[in-house]
């Protein structure tokens, strides 16, 4: 377990910024409430996975040897072998709380998305105004339950004109992965 180096930090922050925009500040400066003297949250890298944990937790985790430590705090993504950073489905709650762009799915379309398919226009119930192509988008059900996240394929304006089968959001992760890729996670 070690703190992220500079290159990794930029990778992680850039990715997060796509989803939360200026709210990234709130993720980093978030005050912690647990532990004897709560200070804040930080990012840690452990076995190529990036964790988001409170500092008190990190301090306590140091007492466990590296090979024995399985996980700590909230895993938010992993750094692939090719050196890229990927958000995993665990980060969904964090993203939802601070997301800038959201998409709500029609109840009938929820299952399709949870099977790992991209969001087409016909599945769309509601979309945040001012979404731009390439922005990170959190996908929710109509009852505000976060389902997953992805990348917007077209802006809100273009969505209007797009035909019903056009892809609006490219799939990145969804809650279905907890079942499908159980052993990988």
């Amino acid at each position: 377990m070690r703190p992220l180096d500079e290159k990794e930090t930029t990778l992680v922050f850039e990715k997060l910024f796509k989803f939360v925009g200026p709210n990234l500040k709130h993720i980093i400066d978030r005050p912690a409430v647990e532990g004897p003297d709560p200070s804040g949250y930080c990012f840690r890298l452990h076995k190529n996975r990036v964790y988001y944990a409170s500092e008190s937790l990190v301090r306590r985790a140091t007492s466990i040897s590296r090979p024995k430590l399985v996980s700590l705090g909230l895993p938010i993504g992993k750094i692939t072998k090719s050196g890229q950073f990927r958000l995993t489905i665990h980060s969904l709650d964090l993203l939802t709380a601070h997301a800038r762009n959201k998409i709500w799915l029609k109840p009938a379309a929820e299952m399709t998305f949870l099977y790992g398919n991209s969001v087409t226009k016909s599945m769309l119930a509601r979309i945040t105004e001012n979404t731009k192509a390439g922005d990170g988008v959190v996908v929710l059900s109509m009852s505000d339950l976060p389902l997953g996240f992805g990348v917007a394929a077209r802006s809100t304006q273009d969505c209007r004109k797009a035909d019903t089968n056009a892809v609006v959001v490219h799939h990145q992760a969804d809650n279905g992965e907890y079942l499908r890729n159980e052993e990988e996670l």
Binding site: G21, P22, N23, K25, H26, R30, V33, D93, L94, A97, H98, R100, K102, W104, L124, A125, R126, I127, T128, E129, N130, M142, D144, T156, Q157, C159, R160
Partner: protein
Amino acid sequence: MGKRKNVILPPALPPETPDEEFQISDEDMEFFSENPKFTNFLTRIDKKQIDRHVTRVANKSEDEVERLYERKNRNAAPLDSLENDLHVDPVDALPIKTLDGKLQYRTNKKVSTREGKADTESAEEDDDSKSGTIRLTKAERRVKLKKERKETKKLNKDEDIAPDSPKEKIQSEVLKEVEEEISAEESFGMKKIKLAEIGTALLEDPEANIRSLRDLLQICEDRDPEVIKLGLMSMLAVFKDIIPSYRIRELTEKELAMQVSEAVRKTRYYEYTLLRSYKAYLQKLVALQKKPVFKQVAVRCMCTLLEVAPHFNFCETVLAGTIRNISSSDDVIRKLCCEAIKSLFKNEGKHGGEGTVRAVRLIAQLVKSRDCHLHPDSIYVFLSLRFDEDLGKPENKTEEKNKFKKNKKGNKQEDPMKQLLPSERKKSRQELIAKAREEVYADYRAVSFAPDSKERQRMQSDTLSAVFETYFRILKHAVDSSDPRSDTEMSRSHAHPLLAPCLDGLGKFSHLIDLDFMADLMSCLKQLSGFSSGTYLQTKTSDSSRSNNGLTVSERLQCCIVAFKIMKSNLDALNVDLQDFFVQLYNLLLEYRPHRDKGEVLAEALKTMLWDGRQHDMQRAAAFIKRLATFSLSFGTAEAMSALATLKQLLHKNTKCRSLLENDAGGGSISGFIVKYQPEVTDPYLSGALASVLWELSLLSKHYDPGVSQMVSNILSMANLKPTQNTVNPSLVALNPIQAFWESTIDKELSKPMNTKVPPSLKRKRKREGREYFVLDPEKMRNVENEVIGEEEVNVRFEEHFKVLRDISENERLKGELNRTLASINFFDEFKREREKEKSVGLKSGKKKAKVLVKCSSS
């Protein structure tokens, strides 16, 4: 023919105007002394002509003129006269003094030419009556010149040489002079009578008396402003009645060449004269508009003409004249113009939409040229525009219906046709009838005034584009000038007078906006509503001075409302969540101040954004619920009621948010990442409202207003419902924020006690007590408020009030004094008594002591 050559018709006055009419009244003198500009004409006058005129008079009655001459020259220096004597023409020895004080002499030559020219002139006049408008202006000019001449005459104080009465005796003339002076008012009355006479004659039989329009016009050339005003108004009344319901067409050459019957020629002449005098009248109006004295009258005439005859010729002139004054600083004029334009928009049937297009374009141009600095009224007129959305549709429908009917008929007819095949004659006859009908219809279409639907559609789209062009221009202007970097406080204070009407209009016509404009429009609105563009929302909006772009809170709220309206009316395409505007509203709630900002705008914003909204994020809804509760705690009843109505609706829809009503803080798992409620955060998503408790409601349930406390207790009862249970009290849910706001504003509040239910026992009591509980009539209250109480009265009342106060304090003081004195007297009495007692005791003891001493000594 130049002006010089155009010899003026000498004193022969138009026969119908009596001479005394041209007398200078005191008003005139005043007018000229006040407006020195108008005396310009004096310098432009052709003096020679005047001389000639006067000298001709001199020829006729020598002794009179001599007298005048002497009188005039009494003041002149003798040197002058000596000098002038050198130049004296032998033909007539009497020189005339002009205004400048120079003496002028008639020459022989001019007299000889005069007569011939007069002849040509009279010929010309005949010509005038037949020819076109250029001549008409010349005629006007001539009339003007005539008048000028007369004026100069008067200024020279030559009243007594009235040209019509050169041969009268001096005495009678002096008499007349006096009479004229007296009859200044009389002449005014006579003119009025004359106006009335001409007017009635015209209205009785316009075709026969159409020529007297010219007389009316001439009266309008009068010197007395009152007379001119009257003339203009009476002409207006005449035109109002005699203007036909069609547009008079210019005759083509061919038509002119054709032989026509007497009746047709008569009508043509009538139309022609009408048109010409109408034009002259309009020219006069336009000219008079520039003079401050006549401005109001001229504008009033124009406006009425626009309302009455938007279809008639020269409508453009009238329209242009009206729109020029639409943002006049004079309230009356502006209101008149606006009303006229509104009626133009409303009665499209009268002019078939052409006028609307033209007016809208003119206003758009005006806005452009004035750089959006106009009076808001001028844009508010757009609100009375009407756009027929399904233009063309109904016609298609009827056509379809007809087809359907025809088919039906055809079907029905087919069967008998089969049976009666040989009746071909009938068939052909039917065809003939159909053909004739079609022809008639085509003719009717050609003649009828209403343009077909395609034409109307085109006009509507033109109008619409002009309107939106104006709106977008205003928005853009507002955005550009409200750039936070250009900090010019002066211009900010009231820089966007047009924004409010523009937003109103956008809201009203939101369903007609093209989807292509939508993105730009939204970004404009977002900027105006105070959303600092760029990604660093948090840092920027946190210091409110920078996010505040010079617009008032109500204006910014209105921006939000408009954005929502636009979105809602175009939601068929896509359901878009306007997150940024919610953030704006969330922050604007804090900036709202009850008396500075308009409460109804806030109520409307709450309604359109929160109450009507179908779906809300849980986080956002919770944040709004919390903020609204806090808000209603700190403002008046009306605001509180509208906020509470919204809050209720939000709770009603978002069942999860009802955990706010629970008594333990910390929303548990649903509160998300923010564990503590942060009231001052600008983003509703980050406020962590779910972790808080709506303690405000329990305070509000003790609100002094029964409506509020009832509402709150109703909301509180929602906590006991199961999440799935949604029916609380349909009557209260139905109350929307705007209704709630209006119902609890002051006026309603005053009349409310009448409706409150009184328990029966109390009721009986009250009845017995009679009039002790009387309810103030809200009307009365308002009257009392509005009543302007004189300063004296106020003084008197204050005096009384303070007198009473002073008396009271005086009374208290005196009472205190009295008490003190009484107390001291009592004390003194006591003291006396005590002392006496003491004395007696002392004496006794003294005696005792003495006795003891005596005893001691004795022992």
